[in-house]
C-alpha cells in the first residue's frame, strides 16, 4: 500500500476487490449515481411459507419494510427477528436524506420504518409525512437512558416523532503517510487541496457537509443560509474544484488504494478504514463541522404499522443494539447498550471523541435540507 507506482499484485488485487465488494457497492455514492433506493437487499424475500409456523403471541404480519443507510445493521438480527415474530425485514438502502424525502414525498413508498437524520425530522413533521409514535408499543425505548443531545431532535412540540438509533460526526480522514501527519482543520483541508495535496482531496457529493465545511473554513456557521456567506463558500469551492480528486461520497476505495489522501468522512467509514489500514486516521475539524444523530420513525402511510413498532422495539433492545453497534461501528446514545459494549470500543477516539472535541461541532439545521440557495450553490459547484 506504500508505493503508488507499483502495479498491483494478484493477491493485493483480490484483497482490494474484496474490500471493494464489502465496502463500496452499497455505498452512498453508488446509490446516489444509480439514483435509486432500489439497491434493495431483500432479506429472505417473498417466501413466508418457509417461516416457522409455531403459534405467536401477537400476529404482526409476515413482513416489515425498512429504509436505512448502507452498512448500518447486523443482518443476523433481522433473521432473529423473523424467527421470533414471523415478519421478514425487507431492507431498502439509501444515499441521502434528500433522496429519502423525495421518495416519501412522491407517495407510496411502502416503508414501515425509516431512519431520518436529526435535521430532516422537522420537515417530515411539517409536511405531515410522519405522526407521533405510540411509545407504549416501544417499551424498550427508555428516554432516561439516552444521552439527551442525541434524542431531542426526535421530539417536536412535546410529541415524540422519532427515537434515536446512532450518532456520529463528519470529520476528515487522512492518509498520514502521504499527508505527513494528522490533518485536523478545514483550513489545512481546503488550502492543502490547492497546494501540496493537489489532486488528492475528496469532498462529499452532499450539499449539507460540503457547503457546511466550506462555510466553517470561513468561520461561518455550518448551517448558514445567509446569501453573502454562501457566496463566500461557493467561491472557495469553485476555486478548489479543479484541484480535487473527486466530488463523491464513495471515498473508501480511492482512500484505500492511495489515489486520494484526504477526504470528508463519516465516523463509521473512518473507523472501518482505520481498522484495515492504521495509516488512515480520522480527525474532527477543530474549527467545527457536523455532529449528527439518526432516528427511527414510521411514515404516516406505513402499510405494516404493528410490524414497524415491533421492529423498532426489537432493535432498541440493549442486547440487540449492542450487536448492531459491534457490526456497524457507529456510537450509541443509549447508556444501557453502552454498558454491554467492550471497553476498547467505548474508549476509541474515533467513535467516542473527547467531549471537548465535540464542542465546536453543530447539528445540521432543518433549513439546510430545503433551502433552494444551498441546492443551487451545490449545482453550480458541481457543473463549474
Amino acid at each position: 500500500m506504500k508505493n503508488d507506482t507499483t502495479p498491483i499484485s494478484r493477491t493485493a488485487f483480490m484483497e482490494e476487490l474484496r474490500r471493494y465488494q464489502k465496502g463500496s457497492v452499497t455505498r452512498r455514492h453508488f446509490l446516489g449515481v444509480t439514483g435509486l433506493g432500489t439497491a434493495m437487499a431483500v432479506m429472505g424475500g417473498a417466501l413466508p411459507g418457509l417461516l416457522p409456523t409455531r403459534a405467536r403471541a401477537q400476529d404482526i404480519g409476515d413482513r416489515v419494510v425498512l429504509a436505512t443507510w448502507p452498512n448500518y445493521h447486523d443482518p443476523a438480527n433481522f433473521d432473529a427477528f423473523a424467527q421470533q415474530t414471523g415478519a421478514l425485514t425487507q431492507v431498502n438502502v439509501f444515499g441521502s436524506n434528500e433522496e429519502m424525502l423525495a421518495k416519501i414525498q412522491a407517495g407510496g413508498s411502502g416503508w414501515d420504518v425509516f431512519v431520518p437524520t436529526n435535521y430532516a425530522i422537522p420537515t417530515y413533521v411539517m409536511a405531515d409525512l410522519i405522526e407521533p409514535l405510540d411509545l407504549s408499543k416501544i417499551p424498550n425505548y427508555d428516554a432516561a437512558a439516552f444521552d439527551q443531545r442525541f434524542a431531542t431532535a426526535g421530539t417536536i412540540d412535546g410529541k415524540v416523532y422519532a427515537v434515536p438509533k446512532n450518532w456520529g460526526t463528519t470529520g476528515i480522514a487522512f492518509n498520514s503517510t502521504k499527508t505527513g501527519g494528522i490533518v485536523d482543520s478545514w483550513k489545512t483541508f481546503f488550502d492543502g487541496a490547492r497546494d501540496k495535496f493537489d489532486g488528492r482531496v475528496m469532498v462529499h457529493d452532499y450539499q449539507l457537509t460540503t457547503i457546511g465545511n466550506a462555510l466553517v473554513y470561513h468561520g461561518f456557521s455550518f448551517n448558514s443560509v445567509d446569501p453573502a456567506e454562501l457566496a463566500e463558500a461557493e467561491k472557495l469551492l469553485i476555486d478548489v474544484k479543479p484541484h480535487l480528486y473527486a466530488i463523491s461520497s464513495d471515498y473508501q476505495p480511492a482512500m484505500r488504494n492511495g489515489d486520494a489522501w484526504l477526504t470528508m468522512c463519516w465516523t463509521g467509514d473512518g473507523k472501518q478504514m482505520n481498522v484495515d489500514m492504521p495509516e488512515i486516521g480520522f480527525a474532527l475539524g477543530k474549527e467545527g463541522g457536523e455532529i449528527w444523530s439518526d432516528y427511527y420513525a414510521i411514515p404516516k402511510d406505513a402499510p405494516h404499522k404493528d410490524a414497524a413498532y415491533a421492529l423498532i422495539n426489537y432493535l432498541l433492545d440493549p442486547n440487540v443494539n449492542a450487536t448492531e453497534a459491534l457490526a456497524h461501528g457507529y456510537p450509541v446514545a443509549d447508556s444501557r447498550t453502552n454498558a454491554l459494549l467492550p471497553e476498547a470500543l467505548l474508549n476509541d477516539p474515533i467513535l467516542y471523541p473527547a467531549a471537548g472535541a465535540l464542542d465546536p461541532l453543530e447539528f445540521g439545521a432543518a433549513v439546510t435540507l430545503t433551502d433552494p440557495n444551498r441546492a443551487e450553490v451545490m449545482a453550480r459547484f458541481k457543473s463549474a
Binding site: I8, G35, Q105, N257, G258, A379, R380, S383
Partner: protein, 285 residues
Amino acid sequence: MAMTQTRGRALLLTPAALWYAALLLLPLAVVLIFSFGERTPIGGYAPGFTLAQYANLPARMAAFRNTLTLAPVGTLAALLIAYPLAYFLAVRVSVRWKTLLLVLVIVPFWTSILIRSYAWIFLLGGKGLPALLASIGFEDIRLLNSPFAVLVGIVYGYLPLMVFPIYVALEKLDLRLLEAAADLGAPPWRSFVQITLPLSMPGVLTGSMLVFILLMGEFLIPAILGGGKVFFVGNALVDLFLQSRNWPFGSAVAVALVVIMLITVAIYTRVVKRYAAGRDDVAMM
C-alpha cells in the same frame, strides 16, 4: 374482407398504442405540466403557471455545454473505432470465425454497464494504467476522474451499438463491385471511398444516431468515471429530482433536453433523406 383486415390491424396495434400512451405520452404530459409549476418551500411540486423555470435554464448552461460537447465527440470516437472493426468482421473474417467474433462483441452486454464502469475505476486508477506508464518512465499521470476517463467509458460502453449497424450495412456489400473497380484500375483507397463507404453510410448514420441519443441522456458514466466533476444534463436531472427535489425546474430541464433531441433527430432525418435521394440518382445512372 377489407373490414376484417382493418380490424385485425387495429387489434394488433392496440398493445403498442396503449404502451406508448400510458408509458410515454402520459409521463411526458406530466413533465410538461410540472415544468410550468412552482417548487413548494420544502421541495416537490405546486401547481401554477409560470415561465420562471424556463427563465432559470441558463443556470444549467454548463451541464448542457458538457453534454453537447462530449456526446458528439464520444459518437465520433466510437465511430472511428467501430468502423474498422465492423469492416474487418463483415468483409475480412472467414465465415468460420465470424459468429464467434460477433458473440465476443456482444458479451460485455451480458454484464451491467454499472459493473463494467466500476471496472474502469481499477484500470484508470493509480494502480492500473498509470502504474504501468510509471514503470516505463511516465510519472504521475492521472487518468481517472477526468473528461478523458468519461470519454473512454462512453466509447467503451456504447461501441457495440455502433459496430452492429455498420456491420449489417457492410455485410450486404457486393464484393464483385470491388473486384470490378480493381479490374478498372482503381487503387484500394479509391474503391473504399467511392464504393464501400457510401454503401455503408446507412449503417454509419443509424449507429451514430443510436449512440448520440443515448449519450445525450447519459448520467451514470460521468458520475462514476468523472468523479462527480464532469457534469452532464443527466446528472443535473438526478440532482434536481433526488437531491434538491425541485421538480418543476427539473421538468423544465428535461423538456429542454427533449427539444434539443427532437431538433437533432429532425436534422438527422433530413440528412438521411437527402442521402437516400442522392443514392437514387446514382442508381439511375
